[in-house]
């Protein structure tokens, strides 16, 4: 049974201008929308929810997506009415918000081995864009003439799109035979034009880039920067830090690493960390302890005042080497620490209208405080254990290893997308399919740390059963889902993107047949 559209449940047309305090020429003549009573609304969305997979429904092993369990308490924290404030509040009156943001900046810097963090980017891709924009601003500030960003072929699509959006030419780097960066190919690609190399590590088939130090040197020697895509950070929590590997810039995907809910496609948050040299270019404003607090002089710094911490070490535009940024991290803000906003000296400006996705940042902060060192270290341990255990149970080849939190199995002579559809009938969500392309018919699988042994075994069973199905069976799959195989071609060929596009007759007949 389909659930009727809102518009099939009610459609009320009216003339908004009628009786308006506004003159006729400022108001519209008609508005036709559904309006549902609360009981109808509750049933509509309850039924829609029942047609939707979620982390609380079962395994969600989408490779590179890190669909972890989202703890309830973090939602409760984010619902605190005292946190529901307007962004234009006088900073002195929202010290609670600033304390949290400052604390999260510190946590993320420590976890990533970075020196300074902005929390403004509202998603991972926005974080990438912010990071590349910071790199660009840095190069421009130092008169470096750079035109290219190097990206491994196996990288996330956002890397390419981001580099292009920032105005860079993309240089695609083929993978080496071992699935990692081909250092010789990189050497050939790196040049004076290289603005940055974007990498994720472990890479998208779960392999650690063993030559990372050499890679970093190579890029730095050419005057380029190293960008770390945080998508796979969950694998390294507490074990290795991008800053220590030579990365200059990184973004964090808080939903992937710090268990904020994905919400069916956002809101996310993509904080960006950088080394000292790049801190002056971060978006404005950032949060710092109030100078009055540290100076003890009772005066607040002017936000435009030069921020010594963030600019002092940006001495020259030369190669960035020898980072040493182990923080003496203080976990707990004293209750009376005061915080203020400030604009980094050479800030790129804004990447969000206000301060990003606040309700998401709260949850990330709460999660990190909940887990602490022990929990973070165990998360990467169990994520990697789970991926390896699951792979060991599969009747499928996994061409590359040793992998960490995710692996790309190959469906061999089967179509990976079809195998995924077959898996749906076993009550699990399938992995990411047909990507990365270095693995033929790839099934990129990341169970995360939240599955237990039995759940992994059930999941392995779904893989093995589906991959053993005949092509005919797979083509007919799924059969036990809310919808059977959805025709994507017709959707794209004849786009119907609103109920207005369905047409009255079509709407009526489909509604009737849908029930």
């Amino acid at each position: 049974r389909n659930e009727p559209l809102l518009s099939e449940k009610d459609s009320t047309a009216l003339d908004p201008g009628e009786g308006s305090a506004l003159p006729d020429d400022l108001t519209r003549d008609s508005l036709e929308l559904p309006g549902l009573s609360e009981p109808e609304l509750a049933r509509h969305y309850t039924r829609l929810s029942q047609m939707n997979w979620s982390v609380e429904a079962g395994p969600y092993p989408l490779g590179s997506c890190t669909m972890k369990y989202n703890p309830s308490f973090a939602d409760a924290v984010a619902a605190d009415p005292n946190a529901a404030v307007h962004p234009d509040r006088d900073p002195e009156t929202v010290q609670g918000n600033l304390e949290l943001l400052h604390g999260l900046q510190e946590y993320l810097a420590t976890i990533g081995g970075m020196d300074a963090v902005t929390l403004q980017p509202p998603a991972g891709a926005a974080g990438e864009f912010t990071g590349i924009a910071v790199a660009k601003a840095y190069h421009e500030h130092h008169g470096n003439d750079k035109s290219e960003v190097i990206i491994p072929a196996s990288a996330h699509g956002t890397n390419f799109a981001t580099a292009a959006m920032a105005g860079y030419d993309v240089v695609e780097l083929p993978s080496g035979e071992d699935g990692r960066v081909d250092v010789e190919a990189l050497e050939a690609a790196v040049s004076e034009d290289t603005a940055a190399l974007m990498l994720t590590n472990p890479n998208t088939v779960g392999l650690f880039e063993r030559d990372i130090t050499e890679i970093a040197d190579m890029v730095h020697d050419a005057g380029g920067l190293l960008y770390y895509d945080g998508a796979n950070l969950n694998a390294l929590l507490g074990r290795a830090r991008p800053g220590d590997m030579g990365f200059d810039i990184m973004h964090y995907n808080v939903h992937k690493t710090f268990a904020t809910p994905h919400g069916g496609g956002g809101p996310g948050a993509g904080p960006v960390g950088v080394v000292d040299e790049l801190a002056p270019f971060l978006p404005r404003p950032r949060v710092r302890e109030a100078r009055s607090a540290s100076n003890g002089d009772g005066e607040r710094s002017d936000p435009s005042e030069r921020d010594a911490d963030d600019t002092a070490t940006a001495a020259d535009g030369g190669a960035l080497t020898g980072h040493d940024h182990d923080h003496g991290h203080t976990d707990d803000a004293a209750q009376d620490d005061e915080y203020e906003l400030f604009d980094p000296e050479h800030s790129i400006g804004k990447v969000h209208g206000f301060s990003g996705n606040w309700l998401v940042l709260i949850r990330a902060y709460a999660y990190i405080r909940r887990l602490g060192d022990e929990g973070l270290l165990d998360a990467s341990a169990k994520a990697t254990l789970n991926a390896n255990y699951l792979a060991s149970l599969l009747d499928m080849e996994v061409p590359y290893g040793p992998f960490h939190h995710e692996f790309a199995a190959t469906a061999g002579d089967r179509d990976a997308a079809d195998v995924a559809k077959g898996m749906l009938d076993y009550g699990v969500h399938p992995p990411t399919t047909k990507w990365p392309e270095m693995v033929p018919e790839a099934m990129l699988t990341e169970p995360t740390e939240v599955e237990n042994k039995r759940s992994l075994e059930d999941l392995a069973n779904a893989f093995n059963e589906a991959v053993a199905d005949t092509d005919e069976e797979l083509h007919a799959a799924p059969t036990k889902t809310t919808a059977r195989r959805v025709d994507q071609t017709s959707a794209a060929r004849n786009p119907r993107l609103s109920w207005h596009a369905l047409g009255e007759a079509q709407r009526a007949s489909e509604n009737a047949s849908g029930e």
Partner: protein, 446 residues
């Protein structure tokens, strides 16, 4: 603590019992998880973060204390971030884990629910804007505006490259726009406001063959309703520039339909529905006319059929997107604000057209009434223009920072625009305190 239950040590969200972990390690032939990691010693981290593990009760108590540090002020704040009352049922339904903890709908067969909800969201925006395409969301109004400018870069029919925006554009929007267009050939220029809306004469001078995109807001950042949007549209049209209108779904339910005044694109803050005050978190509204279908940034949900020929929904036209098209994508956006869009659609459906229009009408009447009350005070002028207003308006006083500080002491937050100008935003959530605000202004300015 042993067992699966939440205790101390390790991740409380990793369910492994000690026995299970041992069995799994054994199956893999390793002694502990560390052996599974392939991290060269040179880059291994052997330090500590210094973050103690805390139980959830402690974290909640700590953060309650943290947020309690925020002063409890009644906010008369707007300027792009608006709070209307969000019914409890929206919280309840949107918090269902099937929505909140799901991923992007790459497997439509098991995500029909969210897909339909997003299709409905798109449809509501199509009705409100009069344009035929709305995507499933951008990050916020600033990103939506910036993406609209980039769209004009992709589809422009002029040789020019100038993006024209109001000089009074809110800083966050302007700053985001500047960054987004930095990698393109576009340059951003401004046109002046007169009386808090577009100065049409000056705009006419500013628009030329170099113009590829003209952006106008209604209501503007100070709440003024643009008196002749069609004239701006005509100016853009005469020069083959895209005409982009900025607004929000509450205002759009009452104000003239952008499509009817020639808008090619509508952007804005759809979080005016469904989202309470959240320190600037938003929901970018993005709608455009059908001709730009294959250049739209962001996700689109389309109607299709399943193998049983039943209606089904799916993400569609994904070849525009970065995960397929990489550097030739229409945007780098991946995760957007889907869950906020879900909430906005719920809120819209709860209000219905009557409720939406009623709310919008209140935004007009309450702003006018509170402005009149303030204007009646000695030494206070409100509004500072001759426009109709939506939710908010400017207020002239002698010493704006001083008045704002006095109001803060009395429990109210307002915007300070400059030494002599405040801005006040009135919605259903603060209107009951408006008399108190007026009294406080009277006291402070006396």
């Amino acid at each position: 603590m042993s067992g699966r239950s939440a205790g101390t040590g390790g991740s409380p969200f990793a369910p492994h019992t000690a026995d299970e972990t041992a069995a799994m390690l054994d199956a893999l032939g390793v002694d502990d998880e560390a052996e599974l990691f392939d991290i060269p010693e040179a880059v291994a981290f052997d330090g500590e973060f210094g973050i103690p593990q805390r139980d959830e009760r402690t974290v909640r108590a700590d953060l309650r204390d943290t947020f309690a540090r925020n002063d409890d002020l009644t906010e008369f704040l707007g300027r792009g971030h608006y709070s209307h009352y969000v019914p409890a049922v929206v919280d309840d339904l949107s918090s269902r884990s099937e929505f909140l903890t799901s991923y992007t709908q790459y497997q439509p067969e098991i995500t029909q629910g969210f897909l339909q909800a997003l299709f409905e969201y798109q449809s509501i925006l199509v009705e409100l804007t009069g344009l035929s395409i709305a995507n499933c969301s951008m990050y916020d109004a600033a990103a939506a505006l910036a993406e609209a400018a980039l769209l004009s870069d992709r589809v422009r029919s002029t040789s020019g490259s100038t993006v024209l925006v109001p000089e009074d554009l809110r800083d966050g929007k302007r700053g985001t726009l500047d960054n987004y267009v930095d990698g393109s050939d576009l340059t951003v220029e401004t046109y002046p406001y007169a009386d808090n809306t577009a100065d049409l004469d000056a705009l006419a001078d500013a628009v030329d063959e170099d113009t590829t995109f003209v952006y106008a807001e209604t209501p503007t950042v100070t709440g003024a309703i643009e008196p002749d949007l069609a004239a701006i549209g005509d100016l853009a049209d005469e020069h083959d520039a895209l005409f982009c209108v900025g607004s929000d779904p509450v205002a759009l339910s009452l104000l003239e339909e952008p499509a009817s005044v020639g808008a090619d694109v509508v952007v804005g803050e759809a979080g005016a529905l469904g989202l309470p005050a959240s320190y600037g978190m938003g929901l970018g509204l993005f709608a455009c006319s059908e001709e730009f279908l294959r250049q739209v940034p962001g996700r689109l949900v389309g109607k299709s059929e399943d193998a049983d020929d039943r209606r089904a929904f799916t993400l569609t036209l994904q070849t525009r997107e970065q995960h397929i098209r990489k550097e030739r994508a229409t945007s780098n956006i991946c995760t957007n604000q889907a869950w906020v869009a879900l909430r906005a659609a719920m809120h819209a459906a709860y209000l219905g057209p009557d409720g939406l229009v009623g709310l919008a009408e209140d935004c007009v009447r309450d702003a006018a009434s509170v402005a009149a009350s303030l204007d009646a005070l000695d030494g206070v002028e409100a509004p500072l223009d001759d426009r109709h207003h939506f939710r908010e308006f400017t207020v002239g006083v002698d010493d704006a920072p001083g008045v704002a500080a006095g109001l803060e002491e009395r429990g109210f937050a307002v915007h300070v625009l400059d030494d002599e100008t405040l801005q006040v935003c009135v919605t259903d959530l603060n209107v009951d305190a408006a008399d108190d605000l007026v009294a406080a202004v009277a006291e402070v300015t006396a």
